[in-house]
Symmetry: C2
Subunit: 419 residues, 2 copies
């Protein structure tokens, strides 16, 4: 099955909002082994929507349409679908009752134009709406199929997982493609994308040519570099077993070459990895940030339950703040000793068990005789303190982002070593 | 001219990266009054790229292709263009020399496959590369035209402004469409999108139907809500004059209804607005952040020259840090007095002229008897201190983002009032 994604909305063409739906759907389809060769954006114009739909149905087996199912005069996906299917729109009385009830339970009066959301092309079936007022649609078009869902991500993701993905997988099975796809992401920090590719080169070559396993690399900025393994098994148990075997080989190759650079699996962030270790130790953390300017702290507070272990931080952007508040010895502030004194200082001042600091040159000019990208990280645990020196590439925002993840990684490694 | 954007890259289909290029191009085309009715994504596959190109050329007058111009075997846009143009690729010796020189100046050995970037479809002209090694292309296809640019945003944006936009505008003029489009963005904070639309309703209605002026609203999270005015004049002077007149009317309507909520124009951020006022006053700033966890500080350091006025901050996430470091009186920390004491405290501790603080409930649970979204902002200037209370909607990340811009806005207004 080749599934084309068509996102409807003039705001997409005008660049007023990013199209996160196509990206999300693309990722979910790929993770389930379903091919998608084309995406389209089209505006809120009947003729052009019909043209985009016909284009998609000519070159793909199925189409997922996002958007244009709302209650206003701009929402014309339903009419375009009816035209492509060559059928009439019929008002579904059950849907009318459902939509009326939704407004009643919320104590609101329903504007009459909401009822157009109950219009269904003849022959289509409905994906019940559980999060918004617009239902989704499954429309047969000859041997092909069109799924239509609202453009609101909260509604779209629910309908995809609940109705579209099962229907697609059912069609795959009916066509004798019974494979089950499972994937796992290993998150790394400390090696380049090409370095990782080289390290696992033998597996990459062995798997090339489209067999049961694929490996992909994805540089993700402050999230590190992701290595995604995808297995295609005869059934779920088989896929999981294949994935497990491959993960062992890949972990070995990466660790052999680069050491302990895999910090998380799937959705686990570097902040999560740090949080887990602090909780295990029963320790609290304080951070002292210079060039990152609060970036590390602002990511730490995103971890659920951060108040259990995060005390806070000092953004010591001006050198005087390093000297006067953190007790750093006057002198060059881009240095190993300044990083160590910042970490020890913030730990003491904020009354934490662990102090983490970062000082360096975001660029483009050098500072204290150090070139842009030079970053010292300090880690103070109880009464011991140490530093790490890293050299980071990129412009100011990138040096800042890489400094943040490098600092958290240094803390992760230190905590692991002390256990 | 209807311009179709085709973004090439399997990573887009797989959802591994967001397609920021189509959004950026869509916005720039719209701002210049050039229509775009369709966008496509296609993977790194010769036949499918050719199909996508032919689809675009059948339904649009021009096409901008992003990506697939690099040096690897995945970069096949040039060959696909040659096929669609029905011509051969020819190696351009001048480009060969340029690319060789680029590697030499960087002291690096050029891998031979980089020379494929010097291949040009016969009849195409070259957009010189100034930021990367891949040149862009302008390819005539019958009466239509294809522009091809690298997918790297840093290279793409430069080539668009320098070569593609002038060429498109030149074609518009040659076709007798001599209008000049100019736009201006008013950035606001403190009113909803629908509130703004209502406030300028009379102008919106007067302009409806597609005349010389258009107004658009764009909610942009931490960047506030943008009001974009676009004028279409007979020449540049006319367009600027129209824009100037409309801006006066719109500013009056917005200010009459909501007061001083326009904080910037075009690319001017709230941080820039604050920086300008601090510089004018010759004052330095320190921030104390609770629920925003460093977000305000991390934005302030992005302003060029921030070290002239930004001292730093304290992220007082734990209540003890508020009490012990900032000298807040023990008691409820989501309160007006806590916000004022935080602002005064951070000003004193970091030795700044101005202190800004934020304390509140990110949610979803309430805290200190206050519901989620309750945020107190403290502003201390010299020895006077005051607070602002705001109620913000949304989930945790949104409450944080809105708190950050609300706090900066409160500081902007206070500094204005004191002048």
């Amino acid at each position: 099955m080749r599934v084309e994604i068509v996102a409807v909305g003039t705001e997409l063409l005008l660049g007023q909002i990013p199209d996160t739906n196509s990206q999300w759907l693309g990722e979910r389809l790929a993770a389930n082994g379903i091919a998608s060769h084309f995406h389209q954006h089209v505006g809120d114009n009947h003729e052009r929507i019909v043209l985009a739909f016909r284009t998609a149905l000519a070159r793909s087996d199925a189409m997922i349409v996002c958007g244009g199912l709302g209650p206003t005069q701009d929402d014309i996906t339903r009419a375009a679908l009816a035209e492509v299917m060559n059928v009439e729109l019929e008002r579904d009385e059950q849907l009318v009752a459902t939509i009326r009830r939704m407004f009643e339970t919320r104590g609101r009066t329903m504007p009459e134009n909401n009822l157009q959301q109950a219009d269904v092309p003849r022959g289509a079936s409905v994906i019940a709406q559980t999060r918004g007022t617009a239902p989704g649609l499954i429309c047969p078009v000859g041997q092909k199929v069109v799924y239509a869902v609202p453009g609101v991500p909260y509604e779209l993701t629910d309908m995809f997982e609940r109705a579209i993905l099962p229907d697609l997988l059912q069609r795959e099975r009916a066509a004798g493609r019974t494979a089950v796809i499972t994937s796992r992401v290993l998150r790394t920090w400390g090696a380049s994308e090409s370095g990782l590719a080289e390290a696992v080169g033998e597996r990459f070559d062995a798997l090339a040519g489209g067999g049961r396993m694929t490996i992909a690399f994805l540089a993700s900025g402050i999230e590190g570099i992701k290595v995604r393994l995808t297995a295609r098994g005869d059934d779920a148990g088989h896929a999981v077993a294949l994935l497990g075997e491959e993960e062992i080989l890949i972990r070995e190759l990466i660790t052999e070459r680069f050491g302990d650079i895999i910090f998380g699996v799937d959705e686990e962030t570097m902040e999560d990895a740090v949080a887990t270790r602090l909780l295990a130790r029963g320790a609290t953390l304080a951070v002292a940030e210079s060039l990152t300017g609060g970036l590390i702290a602002s990511r730490l507070v995103n971890v659920a339950g951060a108040s259990k272990w995060f005390r806070g931080g000092v953004v010591s952007y001006a050198s005087e703040v390093k000297f006067d508040v953190l007790g750093v010895t006057r002198g060059p502030v881009v240095s190993a000793s300044a990083a160590e004194e910042m970490a020890a200082g913030v730990r003491r001042v904020l009354g934490a068990d662990v102090g983490l600091s970062v000082t360096g040159v975001a660029g483009p000019e050098e500072q204290d005789g150090q070139p842009a990208g030079t970053v010292f990280i300090g880690v103070a645990v109880d009464d011991s303190v140490e530093h790490v020196l890293v050299h980071l590439p990129g412009d100011r925002p990138r040096v800042r982002a890489y400094s943040a993840i490098s600092a958290l990684d240094a803390l992760r490694r230190t905590l692991d070593r002390m256990n």
